[in-house]
C-alpha cells in the first residue's frame, strides 16, 4: 500500500470510527445503569451477588436496546405504508 487515500478506505475509516463511538456510548450507559441497579452499598470489592447481578444487567440492557430498535423499525415501516 502506498498510503494513497481511496474512497473505500475513507468509508471504512468512517464506519470504524462510528462503530467505536457507538460502542463507547452504549458501554457508558450500561455501566451507569447497572452500577445503580446492582451496587447499592459499595464495599471494598464487588461481591458474588453483585457480579451475578451485573452480568444479568448487562445482558438484559443489551436485550432492551434491541427491543427499542425493533420497535422503531416497526414504527418506521408502519408509517411508511401510509
Amino acid at each position: 500500500m502506498d498510503g494513497k487515500v481511496t474512497k473505500d478506505s475513507l468509508i471504512a475509516q468512517v464506519k470504524s470510527e462510528m462503530e467505536t463511538q457507538l460502542m463507547q456510548d452504549i458501554y457508558n450507559s450500561i455501566t451507569s445503569k447497572c452500577f445503580i441497579k446492582c451496587v447499592s452499598r459499595p464495599a471494598d470489592k464487588l461481591d458474588k451477588a453483585e457480579q451475578v447481578c451485573l452480568a444479568k444487567c448487562v445482558d438484559r440492557f443489551v436485550d432492551s436496546r434491541q427491543v427499542v430498535t425493533d420497535t422503531m423499525i416497526d414504527r418506521g415501516s408502519r408509517s411508511g405504508d401510509k
Binding site: K7, V14, L22, I26, K33, K56, F61, M72
Partner: protein, 85 residues
Amino acid sequence: MQAAQAKQLDAKSAKEVQTFIEHQHQIQQIQAVVGKITDLCWEKCVSKPGASLTDSEKNCIANCSERFLDTSMFVVNRMQSKQGK
C-alpha cells in the same frame, strides 16, 4: 479529518464519500435516539434484571418506546402551535 483526506480523491469519489457521511450522520442520530429511549425505558420497565427479558418487560419497553416518540411529536406540535398564535 476526513475532509482533508477527501481532497486527495477525485471529485466523483469525494461526492460519494460526502453522501455516505451524511447518511451515516442520520444513522448516528437514530442511534442516539435509540440510546436515549433505552435509558429511559430501562428505568421504567426493568426493575430487577433476570435470566431473560419477560414478555411483560418486552411489552413495557415497546410501549414505552412508542409513547416516547408520540410524546416527542406532541411536544413539537404544541410548541409550534403556540408560536403560530
